[in-house]
Symmetry: C2
Subunit: 661 residues, 2 copies
């Protein structure tokens, strides 16, 4: 992939690639989501696949291919429901505690599984167990508790209560009648259906075949999970999530793995997949301009070929839908959120239909968006949201990680749709949220504000006590605002009061109190062995950095507590890299570790995590602002108790944090 | 098991068995459900089992054994979100459509997977693909659409729009930060979690081991599904439904099969099961008095042994809970409804806890019972119900099939609890219904009344058109009442007007119209070759039956349309068997086929089904009473259309029915 970069070949390559990328953008005929579905499904058979017989032990979750008609009765005979004696009811008429009727015992005991041999004639009775076959001539059963055994002479019983005909008898076929349609095709098999099938004597059942779906990924950057990450490499998460989603919606994934951007190899793989499977799903790496060759390969596979390439959808625009022969071939966008959204919107309905499953209809819940949301005109937009129970109903927070994120889909509670013709949603607009992944349960505790590794220790302790906490990272200032709007219960903060230079205490007011957390050491991070910094104190290190024009810094975003510290350190200087402003300690450390910059400011535990060297500058107080009115909620109490717990404090200290008291 | 019945051995056996049964009843110390749970769980470890590593491909549905901490960042580097050029944002300040800025291109193209080699210095740009690594020196990306390539001379681009630092950059760790707790132990793995694990480079994950649960059944009558049904035999449905339910709640069933009531063999099997598995679940056949040896065998297995034998619960009284060493051993009652209820109440919580799953909390729905329900004082009673949407909320119909039924649990929508101290629920009482098997969806169409095999054909046609119909068999008269109370939309009826002798027309009124169905031929059923009936007409056959005192009839229940016909035929005669009054055509046919009686009256298709001979007596009209106000509901319309459909009529005719027009 990395060719030698001589000026000649690189220039030619560069120009060719840039031209191709520009052309490709024009190649797309972007159609609406509805039109894309129409074109795609017009070429597809959406009826269930054929049937296959499976044993009851493996039928769970499968879909019945045919109606099941009972071929036996249940019970298969008139059955006794109690332990007692089979009698003719008329013989017992008039029997009472004080005036029992005597019946001669027939010399037979009808245990379960025993075929009665003796007819119950008038004046006689036959001992019968629960589940036994009612013998010829009997029409009722008298319970053993209402009889007395007479052992002397001819065995007999005294019956002390009259029984009506039919008493304690379950008639043949009263549960399942031979000839009745017991189960309908299309039924999803649960343990309840398995019980009914077994009761009819069936050991296997015809179910709809599971559509076999080939899952492939392509991209030079992709690394198969489990292998070491190479520089510039990214783990292939699409292959895994798509394969698992195929299973969840009734398909059978065939995992072909990740392929480099090599047309010949990819074409061979796709042709093989088409031969072995009912459908092919390829996710296209994250590249588009510089390397998307998937649609070129797909366009060569056969007819009718590519039906849609480009959908007015965000995320998901570069989706490519094709049919080869009668088999769907789908190229999903490479970015994880785009891939899984388009999979659920366009591919899942086809898999479900072929698997014999009904369309998945998730019932929307009402919520309000707390902030104004912008949208692109002309593309239907799906925005992922986290749901939080507010003072007057659910609040839907947009999760703003973008379509390149793996976690945004996984951690969202649902999504909202913004129509292609809307350019924004005003704050406080009521929206329909389509839940993702089962019922959206509001958590016991909502924490919004700054994030810190040690916070995970506290949340873990809560989780072990059964409290589900949701942490939404919105920065210290965002947390304070959310807390004061009543959208969270606790806000983790580390903000310096510009007037006094102290941390956080200025944030408390009559309704919000400050609870002390821990201190973390802020300082300069740099690669081990960098002689410009090694062995120096903060002022010396800073002077060395500013003296070397090739020395690149990495800054932090405006509004971060760390940024306040950086600007104080720099005292007006603007060294190269100052404009590079990532939003987390981790991103700063990664940039330095990967030599994309040389120094930055962050907390000591993160420097350690990446094997960087560290010069301490100042301690930072990471505290918690709590709504006083919520202090006594069980989850809030548990949180505050956890902060005081010595075992938890020990774990937090081990991460490099300090407690003041 | 059928020993020779000589008077000597049978009498001894009989007396011994009856005594044992009486003793056993006293053996039970019946405790409350709460006390039973307390005694049982006091001896159990209810923490999750240990961990095992599974590949991501097999992790779906499993429970995470440990917290998962991310060991990599996602993205692992600062990443471009678009196709374009990596630049220093400051270089583009002031660029516009009409006054573009020119940047020299570095001789490098950053495709996905490519490690950048050249620093982006002031005044330069590097071509970069979506997903590419932001090179050292750059802090933003300008989209390809906002540039123009200058090919002449040194390659360069014109930039037509200013970009701020950070534009189109996803910072390292912004999605998943190294060191962050990504997933909590106890999380159930769905495709979403698999995507996150893969994104962190994990190819396997530690999950809680599934508790291995041995499933056995015992009873001389039990036949393994798939084998032919023997006389007096019953298919073992408990083994299948329990095994499937174990899988559904996170366990791994080990199916040991059905055992005859043989103490030595059963003890060997139980000891083997205890060695191989974490738990043992035995369902005890349907016998109790005459054959329940399970508790005797369990009492010999070890300590602490049997903790509970007898629970004040209906259904489920004979439940036996034991612990051997640290392993639970449960003997469920043999009757299917009792077995599955007690399984869910006492065994499922243990399996779930060991599997690391939270307790299953089903949210109850409110409904009203339409009829007075009696309950036994002193036993907590669970009553299965079908839910129907009535005029003012849900109505919970008791499904009255009894604990011996397999279908009552499988077909119920939920159950209600009647406290041990209540003896009845008045009609119209509001009750909490605990749903069974997912959300209780009210059907599109409710049909209550008489049942007929051919009705299945109509329902099947509706099902194919996407309408879900619920048929509740309550007899013709029950259907008319339910229809007039607004509890169903259609009532299948076959009732003779005693005044005119015509069928059904007298049931219509201004709010309810009669729609014609089909006619079925009622007649005398008897075994082929019975010379008393063969070749005769109905009057002759009847005379022959009445002339022979050893000839047993089987009657029908009072209120059945068929019973009206029988009484008319008998004209006051009461032959032997008259008191035997089962509630269905099937039960009548089975009784005759199994020689438990010799003749009865029923419909021709059922006689055929059992290989019986048939003498026609009179045609019977099976019609439908429909609420006029509901006629235009889509599902009702579809039902009425199906009745007119010639293909459907052909299928119904093939069952032996006739259409008048």
């Amino acid at each position: 992939m990395n060719e030698p970069h001589t000026p000649q070949n690189v220039k030619a390559d560069l120009v060719a690639r840039i031209r191709a990328a520009a052309r490709q953008e024009q190649f797309l005929e972007v159609v609406s989501a509805e039109e894309a579905t129409r074109r795609f499904q017009a070429h597809l058979d959406l009826t269930p696949l054929g049937a296959e017989d499976v044993t009851l032990g493996t039928a769970l979750g499968r879909v019945l291919a045919h109606d099941v008609v009972a071929e036996v009765d249940a019970p298969p005979f008139d059955r006794s429901n109690v332990d007692g004696f089979a009698v003719r009811g008329a013989d017992t008429f008039g029997a009472t505690e004080t005036g029992p009727t005597t019946l001669t015992l027939n010399l037979e005991v009808i245990a379960c599984g025993h075929v009665p041999a003796i007819e119950v004639r008038a004046g006689t009775a036959t001992a019968i167990a629960t589940g036994g076959v009612i013998p010829r001539g009997a029409d009722a059963v008298v319970m053993i508790e209402q009889t007395e055994l007479i052992e002397a002479g001819t065995p007999a019983i005294e019956v002390r209560r009259a029984v009506a005909p039919g008493q304690f008898v379950s008639y043949a076929g009263s549960d399942i009648a031979r000839g009745e349609t017991l189960l309908r095709r299309g039924t999803i098999v649960t343990s309840r259906e398995i019980g009914m099938l077994a009761a009819c004597g069936l050991s296997s059942v015809a179910v709809v075949k599971r559509p076999k779906v080939a899952v492939l990924s392509t991209g030079d950057e992709l690394i198969t999970p489990g292998k070491p990450l190479k520089p510039a490499g990214v783990y292939d998460s699409n292959g895994a999530i798509i394969a698992a989603a195929v299973t969840e919606i009734g398909g059978e994934p065939a995992v072909f793995g990740a392929f480099a951007d090599d047309e010949a190899a990819l074409e061979r793989a796709l042709r093989g997949a088409l031969e072995q499977c009912d459908m092919v799903v390829l996710s296209g790496g994250t590249s588009k301009g510089a390397g998307d060759l998937s649609h070129r390969v797909v366009s060569r596979l056969g007819t009718p070929g590519i039906l849609v390439h480009g959908v007015a959808l965000k995320p998901g625009k570069p989706l490519c839908l094709a049919v080869i022969g009668d088999k769907p071939v789908i190229v999903l966008p490479g970015f994880p959120t785009s891939a899984i959204f388009t999979f659920h919107a366009f591919v899942a309905p086809v898999i479900r239909a072929r698997a014999g499953l009904p369309a998945d209809v998730a019932e929307a819940v009402k919520a309000r968006v707390p902030v104004r949301m912008m949208s692109e005109l002309g593309r239907k937009e799906f925005a992922l949201v986290a749901l939080v129970r507010g003072e007057d109903g659910l609040v839907a927070f947009p999760t703003a990680k973008g379509s390149g994120s793996v976690t945004s889909f996984s951690q969202a509670d649902g999504f909202i749709e913004i129509a292609a013709l809307a350019s924004l949603l005003d704050a406080n607009t009521e929206v329909d949220v389509t839940p993702i992944g089962g019922a959206a349960n509001a958590p016991d505790l909502v924490i919004m504000g700054s994030h810190d590794i040690a916070l995970d220790v506290v949340i873990g302790a809560l989780s072990a006590r059964g409290f589900r906490a949701r942490v939404i990272s919105v920065g210290s200032q965002g947390g304070v605002s959310a807390l004061k709007r009543g959208q969270c219960y606790i806000a983790p903060v580390h903000l310096v009061d510009p007037e006094t230079g102290t941390y956080n205490t200025h944030l408390a007011d009559k309704d919000h109190e400050l609870v002390h957390g821990w201190q973390r050491s802020q300082g300069i991070m740099f690669r081990k062995g960098d002689v410009r910094f090694e062995g120096r104190n903060a002022q010396q290190a800073l002077a060395a950095a500013l003296a070397d024009p090739s020395c690149l810094m990495v800054n932090r975003n405006a509004g971060a507590g760390t940024r306040v510290l950086i600007d104080k350190l720099l005292n007006g200087a603007r060294p190269p890299g100052y404009a590079n402003q990532p939003k987390s300690h981790n991103a700063v450390a990664v940039s330095i570790a990967q030599k994309r910059s040389d120094w930055g400011v962050g907390i000591e535990p993160v420097a350690r995590l990446y094997g960087l060297d560290f010069i301490p500058v100042s301690p930072e107080h990471f505290d918690f602002l709590v709504a006083t009115a919520r202090r006594d909620l069980p989850a809030v109490k548990a949180f505050l108790e956890a902060l005081e717990d010595s075992a938890i404090r020990k774990d937090i200290t081990a991460l490099g944090m300090r407690f003041a008291d």
